[in-house]
């Protein structure tokens, strides 16, 4: 029987790991992630979760423990934020290249310097090129559901998944969360079946030095190809994983009545302007859209859940079929020296698929500066005025900042 609890985002994540019967957890505490791993350690200590909780001396070690444990066939979990995630960077590449279905929670936090513990997406966005799948959540129920889905996705295609949710706004805010009955979870998420395991009784070398060329001196090495072949397969898997990701979401929806899609549409049908954003910022934008509607402006919101692999074709198709003239991309991250990462990727998707739309980029809420409805409405009006004045190629603008 499922039950409803009032949980913070972090505790929702921990409950999801318990439901997923995670076997090895290795994590190093960092604000605002800590309550997630604290509750997991309590689950392990009190025997509510049959798992090994490994205390480590750094985030780099946390990911290394997960890699080793996953290589032996264990279902693994870690969680981190900001500089902790940055410290994991090297091992993130390893987990993806070794094709280990590790799931981690990234509790989004701004990256120092200067020190800041509040939310933005800079930490996870900076890891977008590591080969991890990235899913962003809007509320605590979605965090819980996404972690359960993440294991199913990861273990089908052997790719690691990062479940991202905003620090404090989600991680420390209490919301009702439906906890699914254990038997129902077990039915949805069968035990992890590794395609290869590290076993002392059957020694293997995993992720050996793999040459630029294909080795013809050992037949079994030859069949794996060289380094480019291994990396090509990772890319092929990610680019063709949309079906799996959508299928898992659909099955989850059929079983538990909640489905998210790779992006969520809100009031987009007749909209002249569509806001594209991720996480809690997209949630806030829906409130702005409602107020704007009452004022006579039709504004839709597109909340992107899946950022990597980037659903370029799906977004371009959506844009092509949409009546909107203009897409307003609000990023809570920045590729320094250019613009928000989502804005760049979205524009590239439209160009690739020959879809002509105005795209205006904005930066908002960097370093956890409070994002409110008024600022999002201000953004829409700025874009509207620019379009009406014939200024179609507006440069990315930083909102609510002392200049």
């Amino acid at each position: 029987m499922s039950e409803k609890l009032v949980l913070s985002g972090n505790h929702a994540a921990a409950h999801a790991c318990k439901g997923a019967r995670v076997q090895v957890i290795a994590a190093y505490p960092i604000t605002p992630q800590s309550p997630a791993t604290e509750l997991l350690s309590r689950f392990v200590e009190t025997g509510q979760l049959n798992a090994k909780y490994v205390c480590v001396e750094s985030e780099h070690s946390a990911m290394t423990v997960c890699i080793a444990a996953s290589s032996t066939g264990a279902r693994t979990f870690t969680a981190t934020s900001a500089n902790g995630l940055a410290l994991m960077h090297e091992q993130l590449h390893w987990a993806a290249g070794a094709r280990l279905p590790i799931v981690m929670a990234c509790v989004n936090r701004a990256v120092a310097a200067p020190w800041n513990v509040w939310t933005d997406n800079q930490d996870s966005i900076s890891q977008r090129d590591t080969g991890w799948i990235q899913l962003y959540c809007e509320d605590n129920q979605e965090i819980y559901d996404t972690i359960l889905q993440a294991y199913k996705i990861a273990e089908q295609i052997y790719c690691p998944v990062m479940v991202c949710y905003d620090g404090y706004i989600l991680s420390h805010t209490l919301m009702p969360v439906e906890i699914i009955d254990q038997n129902a979870i077990d039915e949805f998420l069968p035990p992890f079946k590794p395609y290869v395991t590290l076993d002392p009784d059957d020694p293997k070398v995993l992720n050996l030095v793999t040459f630029p060329w294909i080795r013809h001196d050992h037949p079994h090495i030859e069949k794996f190809g060289g380094y480019p072949e291994i990396r090509y397969k990772l890319q092929q898997t990610l680019r063709s994983s949309f079906d799996v990701i959508e299928r898992v979401d659909k099955e989850f929806g059929e079983k538990f009545d909640r489905q998210y899609g790779i992006f969520k549409e809100y009031m987009c049908d007749e909209a002249d302007y569509i806001i594209l954003a991720m996480g809690s910022l997209a949630s806030e934008a829906t409130v702005a859209a409602e107020i704007l509607y009452e004022e006579g402006y039709t504004v839709g919101v597109l909340s992107l859940k899946l950022f990597r692999p980037f659903p370029a074709k799906q977004l371009a198709t959506f844009a092509k079929q949409s009546a909107a003239s203009t897409f307003i991309v609000i990023d809570r991250n920045l590729s320094y020296g250019y613009e928000g990462a989502l804005c760049t990727d979205f524009k590239a998707a439209l160009y690739t698929h020959h879809v002509q739309k105005n795209v205006h980029g904005y930066l908002l809420g960097i370093g956890g500066r409070d994002v409110n409805v008024d600022q999002i409405m201000e953004i829409v009006h700025k874009s509207r005025k620019a379009i009406e004045a014939g200024q179609l190629d507006k440069e990315t603008e930083w909102i609510n900042i002392m200049k």
Binding site: Y158, F211, D217, H218, P219, F224, I230
Partner: protein
Amino acid sequence: MEKDKLKNIEVPISSISIPIEGEAGRTGSWRTERPILDPSKCAAVKQNKLVCMLCWLYCPEGTISRTIPPKINYYYCKGCGICAKECPSKAITMKDETNFEE
């Protein structure tokens, strides 16, 4: 044999091998200096017993055999020179690779 052990892995999506000689390729090509053993100075040869064997023990690549005399596998010896440094009888000397044809 090697093939059979890994044949159950139908989808080779990551780099996997089994521990076998030469799994990392013929690392002998990395060598700039070649260790040459003079058996007349080697303690094991002189006593005709498996004594000393420090070269075999210290070789980080396992390319020296525990035999009389110890044999160096030049296919895989990287030429690090540890054997020459450790040999108490100074039976091993490092010679520049340019002295050898191949």
